[in-house]
């Protein structure tokens, strides 16, 4: 049953190995082990996938592969060897010479990892010219060749641009070019497509995969998404709390995981809501258009949300889905069209809406880090809407805060904490409790699980479903993640460039035939089978040829 994936990898000595690596971090003044005795080996041309939730130690291990530890961390034991050389036993200047030339790094957010003040070409060729022994002209030629290989537009002049002048997907490929310029032996990819839209992600994955194959480099591919690692890696190591839970060839991990934790990593793909019966309409958006300056972001958009129904709004970033959410919540005024809530027309802006209407429509944001005041305790955060909308005071208010925390599955003792003392998932639960404090009938959820790990995401989605059953709330669930849509939506609305491409019951929208854009979106969602990317690549080539 187990295919020998390693067949295409040259037999030969390991070019890179990690033995019993231990890394400690300073947490609250004490040293705590965050990487607890990790070992793995890589041969030339081999790709190892490191999977796990955030905090599992993936990035820490990725950085250690470059002989680097984050500030506040230290190596507590073990070896990281590159071609037999112990990196952490070598002086910093030796490690610096290897970085960027022999061992390269591709960071998660290319938009943040390129220097905004320098042209792309200068950044891509920097290591090659300074330490890789290439002349400026030679490095430029190599960069142009890589830009072409990575299918960047206008490869000859692409490098003359500044980072803000190109798109996120292009930047991510430019970063791959920067990593490949010295033809390194090892590349560490740290979540290179997490910040991208699904449709863009596929292009970057293809480009990266081709590059790895063409140049025969070994790679460590870090991600929290098993479906992606399935496409990229020869072997997978599943990490949890700084330990390798399970390691083996890709097919074996996917088809026959030995550890229950590995299975739970795709938990979110396994929740399923029942298809809903048609309910009474709660909110109607009728032929709405909106602009930012001269830029039209919503073009003649209409949709309905029923009571106790979940409508998923899907699309790439920039498709106008968040604007629509803000418009419903009264945070953005439409140019034309109307919003009707419970049969009554809504004033366009929060400042003209009644307090009662404000109470009935709440909004939750993607990033609870920035949506919660870091200097307010959880009690204050949840207590304010209780006082504002319901005039709750004293014991009454205190009791309600406790109830709300229990409702979002948090210990009432959390009331005294500050947001900084909570995990990402807990913070998002507090943000949900704050919305629930108003007793709303509709909650606009703007990408509220996008920043969370798979497992935490699954728990929060389950909780939202059960809250809906208990309280009869409707959700407008804005997301770019099809797995989330499959998990919780009753009704799906697909947006592209400010227009609605398709809408209908989940089963109809997710099954063929599809309009062209929905087809592209759905076919871009990575699947858990290891041959998926190859199939997408060949399908698209056929399509392009036809």
């Amino acid at each position: 049953m187990m295919k020998v994936e390693d067949a295409k990898v040259e037999a030969g000595p390991d070019i890179f190995s990690v033995e019993d690596l231990r890394i400690e971090a300073q947490i609250g003044g004490r040293w705590a082990e965050i990487v607890k005795g990790i070992s793995f080996q890589l041969k030339r041309g081999e790709v190892l996938g490191l999977v796990g939730e955030s905090g599992a130690g993936k990035s820490t291990i990725g950085l250690a592969a470059l002989g680097n530890v984050k500030q506040g961390c230290r190596i507590a034991g073990g070896r990281v060897s590159f071609r037999g050389q112990d990196l952490f036993a070598s002086p910093e200047n030796i490690r610096r010479k290897l970085r960027g030339t022999r061992i390269a790094y591709v960071a998660q957010s290319a938009a943040a990892s390129f220097n905004p003040a320098k042209r792309l070409m200068d950044q891509v060729t920097e290591a090659a010219v300074k330490r890789g022994g290439q002349s400026k002209a030679e490095a430029k030629r190599n960069a142009c060749r890589l830009f072409r290989a990575l299918q960047l537009p206008d490869p000859e002049i692409f490098g003359d641009r500044y980072p803000h002048q190109v798109s996120g997907g292009q930047l991510q490929r430019a970063m791959a070019a920067m990593a490949l310029i010295c033809e390194p032996d090892l590349i560490v990819f740290d979540e290179p497509t997490t910040a991208l839209d699904v449709t863009t992600q596929v292009e970057v994955l293809m480009a990266v995969r081709n590059a790895i194959e063409t140049f025969g480099v070994a790679a460590i591919y870090i991600t929290h998404d098993l479906a992606i690692v399935a496409q990229m890696a020869d072997r997978i190591a599943v990490l949890r709390y700084g330990e390798i839970v399970e390691q083996g060839p890709t097919n074996q991990i996917l088809e026959n995981p030995r550890h229950s934790y590995t299975r739970s990593l795709w938990a979110v793909r396994e929740i399923l809501t029942e298809p809903s019966q048609k309910t009474r309409t709660l909110l109607r958006v009728d032929r709405v258009s909106a602009f930012y300056g001269l830029l039209q972001v919503l073009d003649d958009v209409s949709l309905e949300i029923g009571r106790a129904e979940t409508v998923a709004l899907v699309g790439e970033s920039g498709s106008g889905k968040s604007t629509l959410g803000r418009l419903i919540a009264g945070l953005k005024e439409p140019e034309s069209g109307s919003v009707t809530f419970d049969g009554v027309s809504c004033p366009p802006s929060v400042s003209t809406r009644s307090k009662e209407l404000l109470r009935r429509i709440q909004i939750i944001y993607q990033s609870a880090d920035t949506a919660l005041n870091p200097r307010h305790t959880v009690r204050k955060i949840i207590g304010r809407p209780l006082s504002f909308y319901h005039g709750a005071t004293g014991e009454n208010r205190e009791a309600r805060i406790g109830e709300l925390l229990k409702l979002v599955e948090l210990d009432p003792a959390f009331a005294d904490r500050l947001p900084g003392q909570l995990s990402g998932g807990q913070r998002q639960r507090v943000a949900i409790a704050r919305a629930l404090a108003a007793n709303p009938e509709l909650i606009v959820c703007d990408e509220i699980t996008s920043a969370l790990d798979q497992i935490v995401q699954a728990d929060i989605l389950k909780m939202l479903v059960s809250l809906q059953e208990k309280l009869g709330i409707s959700y407008l669930f804005i997301t770019h993640d099809i797995a989330t849509v499959k998990a919780i939506a009753n009704h799906v609305v697909v947006m592209h460039r400010g227009q609605i491409v398709e809408q209908g019951p989940k089963a109809d929208v997710l099954s063929p035939p599809h309009p062209e854009y929905t087809q592209l979106l759905l076919s871009s969602v990575p699947e858990m089978t290891s041959g998926w990317l190859d199939k997408v690549i060949s399908d698209r080539r056929k399509l392009a040829a036809a």
Binding site: L63, G100, T101, Y105, F114, E126, K130, H164
Partner: protein, 321 residues
Amino acid sequence: MKSAYSPIFRLIAGRLALGILSLVIVSLVIFLAVSMLPGDFATATLGRSATPETVAAFRERLGLDLPWYLRYFAWLGHAIAGDFGQSFSGRPVGQIIGPRLLNTLYLAALTALVAVPLAVGLGIVAALYRNRLPDRMLSAASLASISVPDFFFAYVLMLLLAINLGLFPTLASIRPSMGWDDKLYRMALPVLTLTLVILAHMMRNTRAAIISIMSRPFIEMAKLKGESPFSIVVHHALPNAIGPIASVVAINLAYLVAGVVVIEVVFVYPGIGQTMVDAVRNRDIPVIQACALIFSVTYILLNMIADIVSIVSNPRLLHAR
């Protein structure tokens, strides 16, 4: 290509327009504030024994009897043409201020030449060795220098370098007839004092601007590309910190022109600050107004330049998408 650059022209034109508007407002404020100064030039000049008729005639001759707005527009119109009018003492204001202003600019330029590169350099060193010994020493020294008043520095340096060691003259009374080397020699102490006064502020801001950039992901990326700490600070962080550094430099340069009265008095340096103090003492309104206007122009001009530098140093603004 022109259309791609037009946003930046709009931004710069906007800054220029704002600068001019501030100048007009400031000139009005100066004019009104000076008009409200207690005391009257006519009575002050003619003495207490002058008859009301003589005072009135004298006021009429100087145009002091006209309504304030007429006097304002006349003054502003002439000032724009470079004519600051007659001082009450009879000499043209331009003649009184001109050479003094040149002296002040000379002192300011010399100090800037020493202080700005030094401050930026030390700021880079402090950022490079953040929280290590060189940074701690620089930070302690700069704190000390910020807390000490400028005249105290002047006297301490005078005592140490001029009186005890005899390296420099105590007074910086330069004359137009001196050669440049003699001038330099006499100006050494005021330049040194002023450098110490403005160095700390610029250095700390340079350090802070660089350090705030150092936490950005592209700095980590540069490190993972194998860049040395020096190259990271100078080639990767510094280009992104030009804007904030330019604005703190501008404030300090403006201080060198408009705020050095005390130092000029201590070293008996014939600059514009002294001129203004004398003019205030003599109620010589045209001179006061001219000085104040020059100071404001300096502040506004330098800040405008800093704004434009920070716009031009930002590729996001310079190169449209």
